[in-house]
């Protein structure tokens, strides 16, 4: 079953990449880029949920990746591929250090440490003149050779990353992570180093988030500290919740839905905020398992009897 799943997954990514060529490089193409990056971000959040932790610092590592690429491209004139690699490495090293120190803390406390870290980094960026300070860093352009196909590139990379995360989730390592979430004492009793495993999970997720940050830097060409505030982590969480946490496609669905919604809401001017907030509230209240969970329930209900089961039960 797993092998078929991944072959289908690869096919889906290839198809999405091909379709994004049709979107072109104008507004639609950029819409596709935003959706892809949002999907990756939400997927990394879901990945860390495997060990049972809500990673609110995802915006911090996303931002580190973006600034790393920005600095690599504009300050050190590194080529494109090397810049993206730098982003991944910087995010990996930072997350290893951060994770090693903080993953002893759990639940809402880990959430807050992530929050504090994100905001502390944001303030640091604003006070760093060499990174452009509050005005941001400009001139981060992808190589001309990609030209109009940059959206396709982003979709391909994003799809590959999401598939990678899903692959790890279904491997032995993924099962260790889930076991840690369920009962880490049992895992420890079998001789597996629990802390090291948690840090590993965190690092993988942050590496992917860092690469996503690099993609954002290249697609927007300008990055500023306010792009990477705790609100970004909140939105990533919203994509995940609205899409559904249980299925690997949940974050993708959530990203597609909410990014498109934001684009539609843009023309409402000042009411955009109200509309978007209402959508999130609606999503959480009426679809607590997200859209994929709701769809899955409809499917099993239809398979069982003629009567569909009510969505949104009490816990």
């Amino acid at each position: 079953m797993n092998e078929r799943f991944f072959r289908q997954g690869l096919l889906a990514v290839a198809l999405a990449a091909l379709l994004s060529v049709a979107a072109g490089s104008g507004y639609a193409g950029n819409l596709v880029i935003w959706i892809a990056i949002a999907a990756v971000l939400a997927s990394t959040l879901r990945f860390v949920l495997l060990i049972g932790e809500l990673n609110f610092a995802v915006a911090a590592f996303f931002g580190l990746g973006a600034y790393a690429s920005g600095a690599a491209t504009t300050l050190w004139q590194l080529p494109f591929g090397l810049s993206i690699l730098t982003s991944g490495v910087v995010a990996l090293l930072a997350s290893a250090a951060f994770g090693y120190v903080t993953l002893r803390v759990k639940g809402p406390y880990f959430l807050l440490i992530g929050f504090a870290f994100t905001e502390a980094l944001r303030i640091l960026y604003t006070r760093s003149e060499w990174l452009g300070g509050n005005s941001g860093m400009v001139g981060i352009f992808p190589p001309a050779v990609l030209g109009d196909y940059f959206p396709t590139f982003v979709v391909a990379v994003a799809g590959a990353l999401i598939l990678l995360l899903a692959r790890i989730e279904h491997s032995h390592l993924g099962r260790v992570f889930v076991a840690i979430r369920d009962n880490d004492s049992v895992v420890r009793s079998v001789g597996i180093p629990v802390h090291a495993m948690k840090v590993l999970c965190f690092c993988i997720a942050s590496l992917v988030a860092g690469v996503a940050g690099a993609l954002q830097a290249f697609s927007n060409n300008v990055i500023s500290p306010l792009d990477f505030s705790f609100m970004l982590s909140t939105f990533a969480l919203a994509y995940l919740k609205v899409g559904g946490e249980r299925h690997a496609l949940g974050p993708v669905v959530g990203a597609v839905l909410l990014v498109l919604l934001a684009s539609v809401a843009q023309r409402f001017g000042g009411s955009e905020q109200i509309f978007y907030g209402a959508a999130i509230v609606f999503g959480v209240l009426f679809m607590p398992d997200g859209l994929t969970g709701w769809l899955a329930r409809r499917r099993t209900a239809r398979a069982k009897t003629a009567l569909p089961s009510p969505a949104g039960e009490m816990q």
């Binding site: 799943f5 289908q8 997954g9 889906a12 198809l15 999405a16 379709l19 994004s20 049709a22 979107a23 072109g24 104008g26 507004y27 639609a28 193409g29 950029n30 819409l31 596709v32 935003w34 303030i123 604003t126 006070r127 300070g133 509050n134 005005s135 941001g136 400009v138 001139g139 954002q216 697609s219 927007n220 060409n221 300008v222 990055i223 500023s224 306010l226 792009d227 505030s229 299925h247 496609l249 993708v252 669905v253 597609v256 498109l260 934001a262 684009s263 843009q266 023309r267 001017g269 000042g270 955009e272 905020q273 769809l295 899955a296």
Partner: protein
């Protein structure tokens, strides 16, 4: 499990692809003017006011016969999006304006980070950009299509500090700025200007926007006992709180908000402590020289935002008229032609002066709208104009 998702993705992609090609072919009569401004959060009044003024200018122009280009009558239509004051949203707004709505002229953009995101697209796509963003790096020969629509700290700092140094015997000044893009730009210029006016800058501090607790920093400033305190680009409401704390601590020197844009926020939070404050980017609509037209515009902005008109919003109004003048001079609606004509065009600004674009010495090309530096002072709860220093290059 995958199939409905694939179908979903396919359908969405089709929709996206189709909508990318659905663009109303523009009739010759209406040109869209884009605005990238904050419409939510603390910058909302600026954005809402800017939008109102854009619409007002467009309707005034339509009433007076429109813009006459090549024998045809052209009118303006304003398209506004919320850039939420950060680069990522600014990039999204840029995409919406330039790629989705095919806007060729941006009549106003507020916020340095989102403006830079916008600029990186507009220069590449040949779109003319007006901005209120400060920072010399946003203009220059590399950005031929960018123009600044209000006085920046570079234009204001020199005249203002010179005026105050002459009017008061101050030797030392302390600076306070919010930790944002405007603050960082302003601090640099303010420092230089004060030093040039012979006043020593004894300290320069930063605070995070959104904070309401100014007691510690007020205590710090007061302990230094400077002759004057310049709050640079601190928003008027926060400035009022700072001055109130300072008054409570017994400090009584010269109060300046170098690029302060309005008095009502100051009075709201500062009360009596805000008396005597000098502002460098505010407009006084209480004097004898105020025209009925200016008052009408102020009333309109007041109804839309709850606060009086300020220089940031006026910049959008002036930009629309500048565009009209440049289009008529160039007899073309192509951004490149209009930009070329912009450097030699003249038009009447909100302030009543004959304005154009200058600043070649500072920026390399004439991209700065020439407006008078208006120094105002709060006297008895009213904003009074105490000096109007015309731009040196004005014809």
């Amino acid at each position: 499990m995958l199939h409905p998702a694939i179908r979903h993705l396919f359908r969405t992609s089709l929709v996206i692809a189709c909508s990318a090609h659905v663009g109303l072919s523009m009739a010759n009569e209406t040109i869209k003017l884009g605005l990238s401004v904050p419409l939510s959060g603390s910058g909302a009044p600026w954005g809402v006011g800017a939008e109102w003024l854009c619409r007002k200018a467009a309707s005034e122009i339509a009433e007076s016969g429109g813009v006459k280009v090549k024998g045809q009558v052209v009118n303006f239509e304003c398209v506004t999006y919320d850039n939420k004051y950060n680069a990522a949203e600014g990039a999204k707004v840029a995409q919406a304006l330039v790629n989705k709505d095919d806007v060729k002229f941006v009549a106003g953009s507020i916020g340095t980070a989102p403006v830079r995101a916008l600029q990186s697209l507009t220069e590449r796509k040949g779109v003319l950009l007006f901005t209120t963003a400060w920072g010399a790096s946003i203009k220059g020969t590399n950005y031929p299509l960018t123009f600044t629509q209000m006085n920046t700290t570079i234009e204001i700092a020199g005249p203002l500090t010179g005026f105050i140094a002459k009017a008061h015997p101050i030797k030392t000044v302390a600076l306070l700025n919010p930790n944002d893009a405007t603050g960082q730009e302003t601090e640099k210029t303010a420092r230089k200007a004060w030093e040039a006016a012979g006043v020593k800058v004894v300290s320069s501090d930063w605070y995070e926007r959104g904070s309401s607790e100014f007691q510690p920093v007020a205590a710090k400033l007061s302990a230094l006992k400077p002759d004057g305190i310049d709050l640079c680009s601190t928003p008027p409401a926060d400035a009022g709180l700072v001055f109130k704390e300072l008054a409570g601590l017994g400090w009584n020197g010269v109060k300046i908000v170098e690029v302060g844009t309005g008095a009502s926020g100051l009075i709201a939070t500062g009360g009596n402590a805000a008396q005597g404050v000098y502002l460098g980017a505010a407009v006084s609509l209480d004097g004898p020289t105020v025209t009925a037209h200016q008052r009408a515009l102020d009333d309109g902005v007041r109804k839309a935002t709850g606060d009086s008109i300020n220089a940031v919003q006026i910049g959008i109004y002036d930009a629309v008229y500048a565009l009209k003048a440049a289009m008529e001079r160039a007899q073309s609606t192509e951004p490149a032609d209009v930009a070329k004509a912009m450097s030699s065009v003249t038009f009447t600004s909100f302030y009543g002066n004959k304005s154009g674009f200058g600043g070649k010495a500072v920026y390399g090309t004439p991209q700065q709208m020439m407006l008078p530096v208006i120094v105002t002072q709060l006297k008895d709860g009213k904003l009074v104009e105490v000096a109007r220093i015309a731009s040196g290059e004005q014809r």
